[in-house]
Structures are given as structure tokens and as C-alpha cells.
Amino acid sequence: LRPLPRPRVLLKAPTLAEMEEMNLFEDEDSP
């Protein structure tokens, strides 16, 4: 009997706006 395939794990992603905020935050932090 073939084993049933595992369900795929949903990878959570930030929204595009959240990514932009994170980039701004990193830019401010960097020397």
C-alpha cells in the first residue's frame, strides 16, 4: 500500500508592505 503523501506545510510570508517596512527598518539600523 502506498503511504498517503504528507500535506504540505504552509510557509507564512510577510505582505509586500511588511517587507518594505522591514527593509526601511534595516536601512535605518545599518551604519
Binding site: 503523501p5 504540505r8 510557509l11 510570508a13 510577510p14 505582505t15 509586500l16 517587507m19 518594505e20
Partner: protein, 394 residues
């Protein structure tokens, strides 16, 4: 006894392995430093396929951090590149094509049945095994919309200076230009002539360059059509607004030249299989304005014919054009006040917006229909010129 163990060559399964430390190099070579010319001789959207094959391998080895990291770096690098090239049509078109292709790959190989209907058995084998990337698909979809908006903004900005001159002021029809306008050159090219004078040929040539670039980059035909529709809307809006504000272009001869110019643009559309209703409806107001300049404007029958013909123009616009209409040749007559009143009486029942000018800032919402690829990942060849030899074929 000597035993020979035969080496069995493993087939390429359409995955690309890389060390985590090489991620920054991968993103730099494939995105930040990539020029469209570097991949012009390869399959369109090769960078997207390469990125997807790297994602596939990270999925295959069940490394969620690697998938997160690569997708995040990819999205950030594309955004940064497009910000740096915010006025570059070619670069924007190239990355619109690649971003939407990467999105299609994430759908086609997601393992979701709705996206697999056109897959070959080999393509089904290549579906992602461990991770559901639906949320990243949403991010890429939002990014694609942003890139599309940048693309049309750049293209509109390049066309805007040409539109009035090309559509209303320059003319190639002999004998059409009335006295006083005939000394204007009709063959001034933007390269050699004054910056303010563009011919229709120059405008159409620019549209052709946009179309060729987008096609060469492998942008989906449905998206190309939406870009063309938006540009034709812009041409209609700028031309019609100019007509509605200038007495000197509201004449029979302008109407004639305009109709000829529009027919040339229709030919251009037909030559590229773009002559669809969605595109033509955007320039219908300008077509009706050109017809209005040419038809008879004397009797009540003429008024009825105009009201029936100009079903897209508003009453406000029709009345304005009639008021501005300037007879220039001996066979033309000024439009009488009573004729304009006839038109207003015939149209008073119409429900329409009262605006005179067309909104030049309007952009149509864009749709990105799903377009799976017929190419199979294991057939992809990466040229050595891309300097990606640190990627291992798996």
C-alpha cells in the same frame, strides 16, 4: 574476481542546489547584475526558471529557512533594482515578465489540482513536495501589479510629449492641410527635428519598440494587450482633451487627418493581433470626435445623425466641439446656435457624467491570468556566460 560497478548517470530532475552562503551571490548574478541582453539568446524568463529550480531543491530537502530566505531576497532584490531603474522601460518589462513567470511556476508546480490541468506527467513529478507557498504567491502577485504600474507609467511618460503633435498637428495627407498650416513640415522626426514636433510614424515606432521588448522578454500576451490598451487610452485622453480646448484643431481637415491617423494605428494593432474590442473602445471617443468634425452640421436630420453616431461622447463634449468648430476652407460653414440647441434638446434625456475632459490619470485594473509553461524544467540549459557554475544540477 574483478567486479566492475557501472556508474549510472542520474538524470537531471530540474532542481538546482546551492550552498546557503552562495545565496547572496546567486541573487546578485541572477537579479541585481543581470541585464536583459545577457539572456536574450536563451529561453524567455530563464532567470525565473532558475530561481524556481533553486526553490524546488530547497523544498526537496525540506529546508523551510532556505525557501524563506531565497524568496525574500529575490523579492527585495527585484524591488531594489526596479527602484534604481524607475524610468527604464526595458528593465521594468524584463522583470515584469520574470516575476509573473516565477508566480506561474509557483502555481504550476504547487501540487494544487486546479493549476495542474495542463501539466505533463513529468511536470507533475516536479511539483513541490513539502511546502505550500500560497502566501508567497500573493506577495509575488502584489509585486507584479506594482511592476506593471511602473511599466505603464514609464511608457505613458515617453508617449505623452509625442501625442498632440503626432495625432493632431502633423499630417501626411496631401491637400488636407488648410491654408496657414501647410508650411508645417510633415516629416519631422523627433531625432532630427524640433523636440516638440513628432509625426505619427514616430509615435507608432515607439509603440512598436514597446511591443517588441515586451514580446522578446516573454511577457504574457494578455499582459501585453493590457499595456497596449492603457497606452491607447492615454493617446485618446490627451488627444481628445487637446481637441476640446483648442479652436485651431477643430476643423474638417483635422478630422480627416485624425481619422487617417487612427486607421494607421488600427493597422498597427491588426499586425500584432491586438485589434480587440477592449483596445478599440479606448479610442472610440476620439474616433467619434473626428467623425463629428467631418459630418454635415446644418439640418435637423444632421443633428439626429450626430446624436446617434456620437454615443460615447458626452453632450458637453459634443457641444464644445461644435462651438469650437472653425470653418477653414470655402466649403465649410460655421455651426449655428440653433443647430447646437437642436443637439442639446435631442440629448437632454441622456444620463451621463458632466465632465468635459477625459481623466488622463485613469489606469485600468490589471489582471494576471494563469499561464502555465509547456517547457519542462529538466530541459533548461544555463549558459556558462551567466557565471552560475556554483549551482549544482540535481
Amino acid at each position: 574476481r574483478q567486479v566492475t560497478v557501472q556508474r549510472k548517470e542520474k538524470d537531471f530532475e530540474g532542481m538546482l542546489e546551492y550552498y546557503k552562503e552562495d545565496e547572496a551571490l546567486l541573487v546578485r548574478m541572477l537579479i541585481s547584475d543581470m541585464k536583459p541582453q545577457d539572456v536574450s539568446a536563451t529561453v524567455p524568463c530563464l532567470p525565473a526558471y532558475i530561481l524556481f529550480m533553486c526553490i524546488r531543491h530547497a523544498d526537496y530537502i525540506n529546508d523551510d529557512q532556505k525557501v524563506h530566505s531565497l524568496l525574500t531576497s529575490t523579492i527585495n532584490a527585484i524591488k531594489k533594482l526596479l527602484k534604481k531603474n524607475s524610468e527604464d522601460f526595458e528593465m521594468t518589462s524584463f522583470w515584469l515578465a520574470n516575476t509573473s513567470r516565477l508566480l506561474h511556476c509557483l502555481k504550476q508546480y504547487s501540487g494544487e489540482e486546479a493549476f495542474m490541468t495542463q501539466n505533463t506527467p513529468k511536470q507533475n513529478e516536479h511539483c513541490l513536495k513539502n511546502f505550500d507557498l500560497a502566501e508567497y504567491r500573493q506577495v509575488l502577485s502584489d509585486l507584479s501589479i506594482q511592476i506593471y504600474q511602473q511599466l505603464v507609467r514609464i511608457a505613458e511618460g515617453m508617449l505623452q510629449p509625442m501625442i498632440v503633435s503626432a495625432m493632431l498637428e502633423s499630417g501626411s495627407l496631401t491637400g488636407v492641410k488648410p491654408l496657414g498650416y501647410r508650411n508645417r513640415s510633415s516629416s519631422v522626426d523627433c531625432d532630427s527635428g524640433t523636440p516638440s514636433s513628432y509625426t505619427l510614424e514616430v509615435l507608432i515606432k515607439q509603440l512598436g519598440q514597446f511591443y517588441t521588448l515586451m514580446s522578446d522578454h516573454g511577457l504574457d500576451p494578455e499582459i501585453i494587450q493590457q499595456v497596449v490598451r492603457q497606452l491607447f487610452y492615454c493617446i485618446n485622453a490627451v488627444s481628445l482633451n487637446n481637441l476640446l480646448l483648442r479652436k485651431d484643431v477643430c476643423s474638417w481637415s483635422t478630422g480627416m487627418q485624425l481619422r487617417y491617423n487612427i486607421s494607421q494605428m488600427e493597422e498597427w494593432l491588426r499586425g500584432r493581433n491586438l485589434h480587440q474590442r477592449e483596445v478599440m473602445i479606448t479610442i472610440e471617443p476620439l474616433i467619434q470626435a473626428a467623425q463629428l468634425l467631418q459630418v454635415k452640421k446644418k439640418t435637423s436630420q444632421d443633428a439626429e445623425a450626430i446624436c446617434s453616431m456620437c454615443n460615447i461622447l458626452s453632450m458637453h463634449q459634443i457641444v464644445k466641439i461644435l462651438n469650437l468648430y472653425t470653418p477653414l476652407n470655402e466649403f465649410e460653414e460655421r455651426v449655428t446656435v440653433s443647430f447646437i440647441r437642436d443637439i442639446q434638446n435631442l440629448l437632454q434625456g441622456r444620463t451621463e457624467n458632466n465632465q468635459l475632459l477625459v481623466d488622463t490619470k485613469h489606469t485600468f485594473p490589471v489582471l494576471f491570468p494563469y499561464t502555465p509553461s509547456a517547457l519542462s524544467l529538466e530541459t533548461m540549459h544555463i549558459p556558462a556566460s551567466l557565471n552560475l557554475d556554483f549551482l549544482v544540477r540535481v
